[in-house]
Amino acid sequence: MTTAVAATATVAPKGPRPRGLVWTVLRVHRPALLVWCAYVLLMVGWMLWVQHVSGARIRAELDTCRRRPEGACIDVMTFSHSMNEGWIGTFIAYSSYGIAAWAGAALVGRELERGTAQLAWTQSVTPTRWLTAKLAVPAVALTAGTTVLVLVYRWFWSADEVLRGDEWYYTDPFLNRGPAILAYALCALAVGALAGLALRRSLPALAVAFGFVLWFHLYLDDHWSELWPMRTITGTVSGHDLDALPASHFWPLHLMTTGVVLTVAAAATGAAYWLLRRRTR
């Protein structure tokens, strides 16, 4: 016989710890969170190493080389430095591809495929609240991690102009030095969630979310320079007018790009909620 079972013993004492849906999302997606943290730490560590260890050595060698009378310092070292710099920039600038794939497959698609989403919806949790937690918890982790990456990258980028291989208008430094890269991360999250909800299976959702973000990223990469009027320089080169992209246009262009990406993110989020409301009661 069960007599007056008021014992809710497993409910742990109150304190500043995640509860409810936040706890559930964190627990279920703990591996993904660990991978994200490892990625951020790895990138930060790499930038620190390139700047302070290998970069310092190269700068020292360049110095001694330039002091020699025969001159002619071959840029082999500088080349390896800018290679590293290029890879770091690429890994940050294209992180949204991985985020989209994960969000489509693991965050939402697999949950609907396996029925664990429906398991959550038949607890005391509405589908809308479930989706909100599913988007908000990763969004906080992505915002925190990306902010760290952007700040370190900005420092890394501006630290030495001597060894730098990329120009400001290259894809990686253009995106990585401001909120655009965060907008891409959030957009990938929303697109992945939408694909997962729409397709309800992990592999198709992975493919569609990854494919869309790939296309969108490449498309915008071709077109961001049109988002702000060019400065026309008259008559400098053999009397012709020349459209130029001055470095001072970085922030207007960057913020316009951020705006476009955030618009897509907001549209995908809205569509995801709309779809979920239409499907369930």
């Binding site: 069960t2 079972v5 014992a7 809710t8 013993a9 497993t10 409910v11 509860r19 409810g20 849906l21 706890w23 559930t24 627990r27 279920v28 591996p31 396996r114 029925g115 664990t116 429906q118 398991l119 959550a120 919806w121 038949t122 607890q123 005391s124 949790v125 509405t126 239409r278 499907r279 369930t280 009661r281």
Partner: protein, 318 residues
């Protein structure tokens, strides 16, 4: 407080855009609270679709369904649902799964009930869900559902993965819990035998439509199994008849007195269900709780022959 656990009005659900894709059509039924209701029917009859609608997981294409006197979404907190494939997070341990139940049902969770069900199966709280057998997973899923202390418990094929012993024991736990707290239980199955003796209400679905609905005793009382020489069974409604030699065995809904030449018997639940499954053309029959014939199609009136006379009235008053 309402006395209706589930009420569906012309509920219909079509998957996809095909005209033939109706999983459930024109489904009208009512289940009073406190019942243990069996939803039976062949594969593809619409059992899971009906339960998923009651759980608020699907939006109906047409018609509507109300649960515990309100919409399924408003009743979410007061009902529990166990889906057919018992979805759980494979990477969580049993203890973490129950913790999730506590986290997601902060106002209702009864840890003692959930833990008792897990312990009765001899499960280790530290083992991962992915390492459990199908039957053990069912047990954890049921623990999660009962730990919520639901007023309405929706179980889709709950016992399919369990061995006979565990099935008997879990069914006992379920029924004891239902009796103790007045929980309404709705469970679907295509194995009729596992429901006999534990249910007092029946919904029989076939081809996405309601075939039989009502209190079990009243439904059984409305039917008679007759055996006799080949002959005309009019004016009774014949659900199904089979001829062997000169003998005919038929399940009928008596309309008035059965002629003297027939041997009559009360059908079992299994006979009732099987006869209706074998005869998809038989008219549908819905009996209300009070056993009156107002809501019935196909007829429930008139006197029975002496043998079935007693069952008629007491079926109504349960």
């Amino acid at each position: 407080m309402t006395d209706t656990a589930i009420e569906a009005a012309a509920l219909g659900k079509r998957f996809g855009w095909r005209q033939k894709g109706w999983a459930l059509r024109d489904c009208t039924l009512r289940l009073p609270v406190g019942r243990v209701c069996a939803v039976v029917g062949p594969n593809g009859a619409g059992k899971s679709t009906l339960l998923a609608h009651a759980a608020g997981l699907l939006a109906p294409t047409e018609g509507g369904i109300s649960v515990l006197g309100t919409t399924p979404s408003a009743a979410r907190e007061r009902m529990a649902y166990v889906a057919q494939d018992k979805p759980l997070y494979p990477q969580l341990t049993v203890a973490e799964t129950l913790r999730m139940g506590a986290e997601l049902n902060p106002r209702r969770w009864d840890a003692a009930v959930a833990e008792r069900i897990v312990e009765e199966g001899g499960l280790d709280f530290g083992s991962k869900i992915r390492s459990l057998s199908g039957g053990q997973r069912t047990r954890v899923a049921l623990a999660l559902a009962l730990g919520k202390r639901p007023e309405l418990l929706l179980l889709d094929e709950p016992m399919a993965d369990l061995d006979p012993l565990a099935r008997h024991q879990l069914m006992g736990t379920l029924l004891a819990d239902s009796a103790e707290h007045g929980t309404t239980v709705v469970m679907s199955s295509h194995v009729v035998a596992e429901l006999e003796g534990s249910c007092d209400h029946l919904f029989l679905l076939g081809g996405g439509r309601v075939r039989l609905a009502g209190p079990l005793d009243a439904l059984i009382a409305a039917h008679t199994l007759v055996t006799g020489p080949t002959g005309d069974l009019a004016p009774h409604t014949v659900v199904e008849s089979r001829t062997t030699g000169r003998q005919i065995t038929a399940l009928i809904r008596p309309e008035g007195r059965i002629a003297a030449g027939w041997q009559t018997a009360e059908p079992s639940l299994e006979e009732l269900v099987l006869a209706h499954l074998r005869a998809p053309g038989a008219p549908a029959l819905t009996l209300t709780d009070e056993g009156d014939a107002d809501n019935s199609r196909g007829g429930n009136g008139g006197d029975d022959d002496g043998e079935t006379n007693g069952t008629r009235t007491h079926g109504a008053s349960v």
